[in-house]
């Protein structure tokens, strides 16, 4: 990622804050939205983007974040349905070219993909990591 992008990170929980901090460090212009402004404490000290406090489901808030100018939107709130809705809003209303959606419940992965979303099912990824690491440990011990 050489070119500087405008990236919207929606949800500033543990995952959102790591992503936003990283993007900012890489020189991208970052806006991060969360309804609880205490979550912005999770951001790293080098974070130089814009935090916006507001309900991420609300159209006004997404407009205030200038989502229409973003090249990338990443929906990483703690609620699957919220991520699914915000991602669809980003794609269809704000015409954001790249939208990534975090899904927690694997049962919602298929439907989200059917809706045309690019999903990252973090629970599934963790499970795979656990199984893989366990296998490695067993191999070392045997």
């Amino acid at each position: 990622m050489k070119k500087s992008l405008y990236i919207a990170v929606i949800g500033c929980g543990r995952l959102g804050s790591i992503l936003a901090s990283n993007f900012s460090k890489q020189g991208h212009k970052v806006v991060v939205i969360d309804q609880d402004n205490s979550t912005f404490n999770h951001l790293s000290e080098e974070f130089s983007g814009f935090p916006i406090t507001g309900n991420t489901a609300e159209m006004n808030v997404l407009q205030a974040a200038k989502l229409d100018k973003a090249q990338v939107a990443i929906a990483v709130t703690g609620k699957d349905n919220l991520n699914i809705m915000v991602s669809q809003l980003a794609k269809t209303v704000f015409k954001v070219p790249i939208v990534l959606t975090r899904i927690l419940d694997p049962a919602r992965e298929e439907i989200s993909q059917k809706l045309g979303l690019t999903t990252i099912t973090t629970t599934k990824i963790s499970a795979v990591a656990f199984l893989k690491t366990l296998q490695e440990q067993l191999n070392i011990n045997s």
Partner: protein
């Protein structure tokens, strides 16, 4: 029809009762076990405890057989996703979603939700209408709304003030039945004049109501 309703509040309760009374087959999905138990005692419907936006719960509710789904929870995202799963996954032909942020309404319909209605918007419109026509009180409707009885108070802006009834362009299906002036009520005749502050009791058919109000208040509803 087979109807699925998702939500926990009074809206779901009253709508379900109405649908049951109309002989529809109703399934309610509730995420709160206490409400679910209450509903199952009060309404002749199948009540399922669970997240109505989850594919498994919708399957349990036999969404694939449903004709209509209404998503009426407190969260726009849950209403959208419930309708989308019902439509895309289970082929429910008609989906109705409650929208809280009025700005979402158009987006929901763009996402092919059959009807997205914003209670906020509806209430705001009603209140605005009331405020514009604060001098109008609807009393009652006779015989299932075929005839309405309304009271209008004439203010100084009314184009009808200082005119006699015979000089007003009243529509055919409408009548000024009574004038109340300074506490005295009388039945007007063609030559009766109208004054500022008159309270008029109107009887009209619904199709003539708007025209009647326009003649008396100068405002178009």
């Amino acid at each position: 029809m087979r109807i699925i309703l998702i939500g926990d509040d009074n809206l779901v309760y009253f709508l379900s009762k109405k649908f049951v009374a109309e002989k529809h087959q109703v399934t309610i999905i509730n995420c709160d076990p206490v409400t679910a138990r209450k509903f199952s005692h009060q309404i002749k419907a199948t009540v399922i405890i669970g997240d109505g936006t989850h594919p498994t719960i919708l399957k349990e509710a036999e969404a694939e057989k449903a004709d209509l789904i209404l998503a009426l929870t407190a969260h726009d995202e849950d209403n959208l996703v419930a309708c989308q799963i019902a439509q895309q996954h289970y082929g429910v032909p008609r989906t109705i979603a409650l929208v809280h942020d009025p700005a979402h309404q158009q987006f929901f319909e763009q996402m092919r939700i059959s009807v997205a209605f914003s209670a906020t918007q509806i209430l705001a419109n009603l209140i605005k209408k009331r405020a514009d026509f604060e001098d109008i009180t609807n009393f009652f409707a006779v015989d299932r709304g075929q005839i309405g009885v309304t009271e209008v108070i004439l203010n100084e802006d009314s184009p009808a003030v200082e005119k006699s009834l015979q000089n007003l362009d009243l529509p055919a299906g409408a009548l000024i039945a009574c004038i109340i002036r300074q506490g005295q009520a009388f039945v007007p005749r063609g030559w009766s004049h109208l004054e500022v502050g008159d309270r008029l009791i109107l009887i009209s058919q619904p199709e003539n109501y708007d025209q009647l109000l326009e003649v008396l208040t100068g405002k178009v509803e």
